[in-house]
């Protein structure tokens, strides 16, 4: 080895050892989150959302977005080691039971009471309740979201005659797809059934409860068989490229797809790009009502947070009505405090906000919540539905057989984890299938 290479390796070692030792002169807190993860949202969170807090409080916020796996692993590791780096943890409500079970979080009931005592914000009660696990308040509601349908304006001309798109049924949707196919020669309904798409949410939170009245409980009933028969038909008018769609904004923008169902955040880029070309419609209604999922994101305080007071200040800032409107405008997550709902945004977001309101206030609306309580096996829930779909709609296996085998797996999962049925199913622990 010559002197140069030795010097080079030494320099590398020294910088590596020296780098983490540098300390910040001002107070700095760490905000770890599974939300606001896509690159533009990250930049927005740092430069707009958290910048406001930094300027006001004089506290720097290190924003660390992560996927759910590393996010949870890190919080669990810090709880077990008894030494923490994360001050505020923001994620979907389904992740909180797992963290609570390992005693990784502080009870935020007092934080919530202090916030409400300011009298400038009223948290929506349902959302607060979702954070209460075994009488411990695990999170402060932060943001909420849902999934609905975006349609190219050209498609509206083909909507079934005499029917109202704002009160669409699943039969209307099928007929609509068929009309478009006949008129244009192309299958232009689209679903995000790609590897990272959220089609599984459509199955368990939308079409299942709309046809059977339950997400889990009536998985293999006669109503479910009707639903699957319908879904097979729907796929004959659905764009086959749906199997590679993860985010529906792209096929909507290219025009490959005219009618798409997806998460609001994943539709919004299309509306921002061309707000006048698209309309937002409530999800369809089935025989048992218009079911839709409400996704709740919450803010928790890790037990070993090194800066608990600054962390509480950040939570106060993020749930302030004005900040909540900023959040809605920036990333299309909807407010969790009533006082923020009055503010009217503009452009594509306004179209979206109206669609969300129309879906939530429809007379036949039924709110479904993401399943919780499956602990370490949470990741098995959605694939069960997607696999069922693959076997029935793609491989064409007999519906009753597939439902029997998959139903058994679903029931085993709930029995093994002793988990309660997710709403709108009846409260039952463990959840058993009919």
């Amino acid at each position: 080895m010559n002197a140069r290479s030795i010097a080079l390796s030494l320099a590398l070692v020294l910088t590596a050892l020296g780098a983490p030792a540098a300390s910040a002169p001002v107070q700095e807190i760490t905000f770890s989150s599974t939300q606001l993860n896509p690159v533009q949202e990250q930049e927005w969170a740092r430069n707009t959302l958290l910048k406001g807090f930094e300027d006001e409080a004089g506290i720097r916020v290190r924003f660390v977005p992560d996927t759910a796996g590393p996010f949870i692993d890190r919080l669990l590791a810090e709880a077990r080691a008894g030494r923490g780096t994360v001050d505020v943890a923001g994620t979907l409500h389904g992740d909180f039971p797992l963290l609570a079970a390992e005693n990784a979080l502080r009870d935020v009931a007092a934080v919530l009471r202090n916030l409400e005592a300011r009298r400038d914000r009223t948290f929506i009660a349902d959302l607060v309740r979702a954070g209460n696990i075994n009488n411990v308040q695990t999170f402060v509601p932060w943001m909420q979201a849902t999934y609905l349908i975006a349609a190219n304006r050209q498609a509206l001309a083909h909507f079934p005659r005499g029917r109202n798109p704002q009160a669409m049924t699943y039969d209307d949707l099928l007929q609509w797809g068929e009309n478009i196919r006949q008129a244009t020669g192309q299958r232009r309904l689209g679903f995000p059934a790609g590897p990272s798409g959220l089609y599984g949410r459509f199955l368990h939170g939308y079409i299942y409860p709309s046809f059977t009245g339950a997400q889990v409980k009536r998985f293999k009933t006669a109503d479910a068989v009707t639903m699957w028969t319908y879904l097979k038909q729907l796929w004959t008018v659905t764009n086959p490229a749906s199997f590679r769609y993860d985010f529906m904004n792209e096929p909507l923008l290219t025009g490959e797809v005219w009618v798409a169902w997806d998460h609001v955040v994943r539709l919004l880029p299309a509306l921002r790009e061309r707000p006048n070309d698209f309309v937002i419609l409530p999800s369809p209604a089935g025989p048992r009502g218009r079911s839709f999922l409400t996704v709740i994101a919450g803010l928790g305080l890790p037990r070993n947070s090194p800066n608990p007071e600054a962390a509480e200040r950040l939570i106060e800032y993020l749930t302030r009505p004005r900040t909540q409107v900023t959040t809605l405008q920036g990333v299309a997550f909807f407010p969790t405090v009533r006082e923020a709902s009055g503010a009217v945004p503009t452009g594509g977001l306004r179209v979206m906000a109206e669609g969300v309101a129309a879906q939530a206030t429809a007379p036949d609306a039924r709110t479904a919540l993401l399943p919780i309580g499956l602990g370490a096996r949470s990741g098995e829930f959605v694939p069960l539905y997607v696999d069922t779909f693959r076997e029935i709609a793609v491989q064409g296996r007999p519906v009753a057989d597939v439902l029997a085998t998959q139903g058994r797996k679903l029931e085993d999962l709930y029995r093994a984890m002793n988990a309660v049925c997710p709403p709108p199913d009846p409260q039952e622990r463990p959840c058993r299938l009919e």
């Binding site: 010559n2 080079l8 390796s9 590398l12 070692v13 910088t15 590596a16 050892l17 780098a19 983490p20 760490t30 770890s32 993860n37 896509p38 690159v39 533009q40 990250q42 930049e43 740092r46 290190r62 660390v64 977005p65 992560d66 996927t67 796996g69 590393p70 692993d73 890190r74 669990l76 590791a77 810090e78 077990r80 080691a81 030494r83 780096t85 994360v86 990272s196 993860d246 985010f247 904004n249 792209e250 923008l253 290219t254 025009g255 490959e256 994943r266 880029p269 790009e273």
Partner: protein
């Protein structure tokens, strides 16, 4: 088959393999210089018109990208140093000495590949917090070294098998000690092979996301920073292409440098 036909066939095969490797890189590079509105046009052309550095600039200016690139380079450098420092002697021992448990040792090396990092994540993070290695580049380099070692050892073993022991013996008869014979004779001959091991280690460390994500908060490496933002969570196509381009180019340059630097320094050629 005539010589000309054979040469044509060879050229065809070389072109095929070359295209297989290069085509995606070229397409990603072209797309990363395309504006967003063009990417969403249907049908879309291959050559950007006009060329635009808008997305790439957004990327470079995004918080932490340059720093993360530096972190990645440091981690990769440390990993290469550690993997060669530990792997080369192990490979030498396996190729030169017959000792009890040699086969078991060889299997045990591969055994470390049997455990998915996902299972080890939480205990590993807990230990690193206790040892003060959490959120340091050295900690990440240790994990990457552990991941790279099996292959580093296997590669170096076969490299040293190819270096005749007679040459070392000759050096020893001329007054070299065992260590000197290794350093002055065996090592220089083995360098191309070690460079290959170094390149492999570099690629592994440069691409590794999981350990880098779990074990760092402030000192993120480039893939930990970028893959989260554009891969799993999804992002518009233009950012994916820009990120892909940004991940590929430094890696290509560095691999070329390692090859050139190590090989020309000692005047040996790879066959």
């Amino acid at each position: 088959m005539s010589a000309a036909a054979r040469r044509a066939l060879l050229a065809l095969a070389v072109t095929g393999v070359g295209a297989w490797v290069l085509a995606p890189i070229v397409l990603i590079a072209l797309a990363s210089f395309t504006t967003r509105s063009q990417l969403y046009a249907w049908p879309r052309g291959v050559i950007p018109n006009p060329w635009s550095v808008e997305t790439l600039r957004f990327f470079l200016q995004a918080q932490g990208v340059l720093q993360a690139t530096w972190h990645s380079l440091v981690v990769a450098g440390l990993t290469i140093a550690l993997a060669i420092l530990i792997g080369a002697p192990a490979g030498y021992a396996l190729s030169r000495f017959r000792f009890a448990g040699r086969e078991a040792f060889r299997l045990a090396i591969l055994g470390t590949k049997m455990f998915p990092a996902t299972i080890l994540a939480v205990p590993l993070a807990v230990s690193f917090i206790h040892w003060g290695l959490y959120d340091t580049l050295l900690g990440v380099a240790f994990v990457h070294t552990a991941l790279a070692l099996p292959f580093a050892i296997i590669i170096t073993t076969s490299v040293f098998v190819g270096v005749p022991f007679e040459l070392e013996e000759a050096a020893m008869t001329l007054g070299c000690g065992r260590l000197q014979a290794f350093l002055r004779v065996a090592l220089p001959i083995a360098l191309p092979g070690l460079a290959a091991a170094a390149i492999f280690t570099f690629v592994l460390s440069w691409n590794e996301v999981f350990a880098a994500t779990i074990l760092t908060l402030r000192t993120r490496t480039l893939p930990a920073l970028v893959m989260n933002a554009v891969g799993s969570a999804g992002a518009p196509a233009d950012f994916r292409f820009a990120a892909g381009f940004f991940m590929i180019v430094p890696a290509l340059i560095i691999i070329m440098v390692i090859r050139r630097y190590l090989l020309t320094l000692w005047g040996v050629t790879v066959r």
